[in-house]
């Protein structure tokens, strides 16, 4: 019995890791292939000529040289989206409603984490010269604090603004969530601006997170392109992977996880089986909020500056990712995040070259949405979603 349990646990740890590697490699390969073929086709046309004129290289070699960096950047972004998307998907899976306030939960996590780091920097505990090991410990502390605060906030929001609406028409909690979103944005703004007069925060520089590990460089025209990854990007990816595996384990290999799945499948029956539904829903919000909070701190680490409205766009993208993957499906959220991150980065980098400057990086969101619509036309329940039919 003991060994049986152990083997299950190991499988639940390895399976998501395998999925992540497969998804990352798979979607990178597919997108790279498409872009390379496109480059080969267009190389002999006016597009190739204009690239030649601008960069003194052929379109094909321009694409090949830039491709590795684009893949690295895209995957980093993808894991950030995936971490936020999991919060949406958890809540959706259980309650079937879009938690619009999730982007503010994300912001709360980011602010708490960054405030702690700022306070530490103020006491001169953090500095650029400090030992690398200590820097990581403090970062993990900030990450945990952000998770705790965001998780708590999510539970409180659920209790005050969503629970009284259980059983109301489907769109009612949606509006309540919008109300919560407005409220939290301004509440963060109020709290943050009382102390300093400003409501944005900038993550202090410490440790070696801004360093870039370079793997070498490739010649491009007159200059050369160096290929590398920043340490903070690596941290983002690793942290996201750990969280995803942890969540997967929790949902698929523990008793609580079983209860969550039961509530998601049929609330009434789950309740008859002796599951405290309210308790489980609160727990879902706690987990979703914690993931969002961690994503917030990671986001601040990667992109430096945060403000109370910071959650809006990543939230929107993550929601898109969740739907792309098949909303309510954890694996789907992961895949959706990775695909969306890659798509956006590909579009942002290559769109301008392939359209000869007519449509540039500003269309990357449109591009991502168009792909979403295309995917949904052929797979109406997302990439991984199953057609479970209409829920009564």
């Amino acid at each position: 019995m003991q060994r049986f349990l152990k083997s299950i646990q190991l499988r639940e740890l390895l399976r998501p890791l395998g999925q992540m590697i497969a998804f990352s490699l798979g979607s990178s390969a597919v997108l790279s292939l498409i872009i390379i073929i496109l480059a080969l086709i267009l190389d002999q046309t006016a597009v190739g000529a204009s690239t030649m004129a601008r960069f003194k290289v052929s379109l094909f070699s321009y694409t090949i040289v830039n491709l590795p960096q684009v893949l690295i950047d895209g995957l980093t972004l993808g894991f950030v989206y995936a971490a936020i998307a999991l919060g949406y998907t958890m809540v959706y899976g259980v309650l079937e409603f879009i938690n619009f306030a999730h982007s503010e939960i994300f912001a709360i996590g980011a602010f708490v984490g960054v405030e702690i780091l700022i306070a530490l920097k103020g006491r001169e505990i953090l500095s650029t010269e400090m030992s690398v090991g200590n820097a990581y410990w403090w970062l993990i502390l900030a990450l945990l604090a952000g998770m705790a605060a965001a998780g708590l906030a999510a539970v409180v929001v659920e209790r005050l603004a969503y629970r009284p609406l259980r059983g109301a028409p489907r769109l009612v909690p949606l509006i309540s969530a919008i109300g919560v979103s407005f409220f939290l944005q301004d509440a963060i703004r109020l709290i943050e601006s009382i102390t300093t007069g400003q409501f944005h925060r900038i993550i202090p520089t410490f440790g070696n997170f801004d360093q870039r590990l370079t793997f070498g460089s490739m010649p491009l025209g007159a200059g050369s392109i160096s290929l590398g990854v920043q340490i903070k990007s690596l941290i983002v990816i690793i942290a996201a992977v750990v969280m995803l595996i942890g969540l997967n384990y929790l949902v698929n290999a523990t008793k609580v996880g079983k209860a969550i799945r039961a509530v998601a499948q049929d609330r009434a029956t789950a309740s008859l089986m002796g599951i405290d539904v309210n308790h489980i829903i609160a727990l879902t919000f706690l987990i979703g909020g914690m993931l969002g909070g961690a994503a917030g701190v990671l986001y601040a680490l990667k992109f430096t500056r945060i403000d109370p409205f910071v959650g809006f766009f990543p939230g929107l993208k993550a929601f898109t990712a969740a739907v792309l993957g098949g909303i309510g499906n954890l694996t789907g959220a992961l895949l959706g995040g990775i695909v969306l991150g890659l798509l956006e980065t590909f579009a942002g980098t290559f769109m301008s070259i392939f359209t000869m400057g007519a449509a540039g990086a500003e269309y990357k969101d449109i591009f991502a949405f168009s792909i979403l619509i295309l995917v949904l036309i052929f797979r109406p329940h997302g990439l991984m979603g199953e057609n479970v039919g209409q829920k009564a």
Partner: protein, 424 residues
């Protein structure tokens, strides 16, 4: 239905009671049509502190006080508020009560226009400071024009704002078609051969960027790329394109919060050229975000009309006072809002003096603004031309000298240009 009705009746009764309890303290008792406060007797000597209350003068501000753009919008209000508190003295001595009426335009044209109508319906409002967004200013100023209410803009650089030639619409900032040109001229004088232009897809950022591009092309500088982006955080795709074309300069048309993140990411990935931007870069927060990125490699320069302390000593005092009152460094356009308010106050004062200390009309105030000659503000010396642009504006190109935000004030002027706006 019944409950609704009960609710309604209670509401109505309560509001009637409220209405009966008294008008709001500043409610002008006269209907909108009457000339405000004509019943106030004129004092013989306007210099003496008059004891007679001659009525309330309100100066409205409109800027986004909530939402994503509120950090700039709130500081426009705060800058104006500071000016009102510091400079309303002469009007108070004449016996007027001067008040600020801050409105939140939510960066939304609908709200801006509705507020504008509310503002013009209040006869006590004699002048307006606003807006942040040209997209809100243009439709709202139609209302100011219809009502004859003078508006002084601290931030709208879009040429269309003044090109309509309204008497009431003025601005103290440079026009896009001047500032972009200043940037390109400076880039040329640095010997820049190629430039990558990025803008934030707002009327302001794109406006400046378009004119920078136009002038740069005329000067023979290669434009290696021209991209707009609404992105606030992840500039990886753009940085890849920048590195691929490796230009001598990256010009960012927009506000510091986006620019800082972009500059930082570009440096981290190994870009070594010069960064440049318009007056939206003028904030110490830029140094806080981008840090070393501003001084390493080719460094960073920005163009602005708001000169450093060495040229305009008032600026340093303003920054100090602002920090004392609001607890933070002023954002871009806060100093301009201070000046816009100062111009409003001065014009009202002039108009009142010309009338022997009586309450001036809106039209008199609007004309008084245009009649100002070399008004000494903290960000420049202002005389308006016949469409409401400043006749000749001093432009500074300023180089960032330190990555430390506390040393932002020490940034060095590398070029000074006097440029008149294109006449219509």
């Amino acid at each position: 239905m019944k409950r609704l009705f009960t609710l309604l009746s209670v509401l109505v009764i309560a509001s009637m009671a409220l209405a009966a309890c008294g008008q709001k303290p500043t409610e002008a008792p006269a209907p909108a049509t009457e000339a405000p406060a004509t019943e106030a007797p004129a004092t013989e000597a306007p210099t003496e502190p008059a004891m007679v209350e001659k009525g309330t003068i309100k100066i409205a501000t409109q800027s986004p006080l909530s939402g994503g753009q509120s950090s700039l919008g709130v500081d426009i209000k705060n800058g104006a508020q500071l000016a009102l508190e510091q400079l309303a003295g002469p009007l108070t001595e004449m016996g007027f009560k001067v008040e600020l009426a801050p409105y939140d335009d939510q960066a939304n044209p609908d709200t801006g226009v509705a507020n504008a109508k509310q503002i013009v319906a209040d006869p006590a409002v004699l002048c307006l400071v606003g807006h942040l967004n040209s997209g809100v200013m243009i439709p709202s100023s139609e209302e100011y024009h219809n009502a004859g209410l003078a508006a002084v803009s601290p931030a709208n650089t879009n040429p269309k704002v003044t090109d309509r030639g309204y008497l009431e619409v003025n601005r103290i900032v440079g026009r896009d078609d001047v500032q972009g040109v200043v940037g390109a001229e400076y880039a040329n004088s640095l010997g820049v051969k190629s430039v990558f232009i990025i803008h934030d897809k707002t009327a302001y950022g794109q406006g400046v960027a378009e004119f920078f591009k136009k002038r740069a092309e005329e000067l023979g500088i290669t434009v290696a790329g021209f991209e707009g982006t609404e992105e606030k955080a992840n500039f990886d795709p753009l940085v890849t394109s920048i590195l691929a074309s490796n230009p001598d300069m990256v010009y960012f048309g927009g506000i510091y919060d986006q620019a800082g993140v972009l500059f930082k990411q570009a440096r981290e990935k190994g870009y070594q050229g010069t960064f440049m931007g318009p007056d939206g870069m003028d904030s110490s927060v830029l140094a806080e975000i981008a840090g070393e990125a501003l001084v390493s490699g080719g460094g960073m320069v920005y163009s602005t009309v708001s000169g450093p302390a060495s040229v305009y000593p008032g600026t340093a005092k303003f920054v100090e006072d602002f920090k004392a009152k609001f607890g933070a460094d002023p954002q871009p356009f806060a100093a301009q809002a201070y000046d816009a308010m100062a111009i409003c106050l001065k014009a009202i004062e002039d108009a009142a003096m010309a009338k022997g200390g009586e309450m001036p009309t809106r039209e008199e105030v609007a004309k008084a603004i245009r009649a100002l000659k070399d008004f000494p503000g903290i960000t420049g010396t202002y005389t308006f031309n016949d469409i409401g642009d400043v006749t000749s504006a001093k432009y500074f190109v300023i180089k960032v000298v330190s990555a430390d935000p506390a040393k932002w004030g020490e940034n060095e002027v590398v070029q000074t240009l006097d440029i008149a706006p294109p006449s219509k």
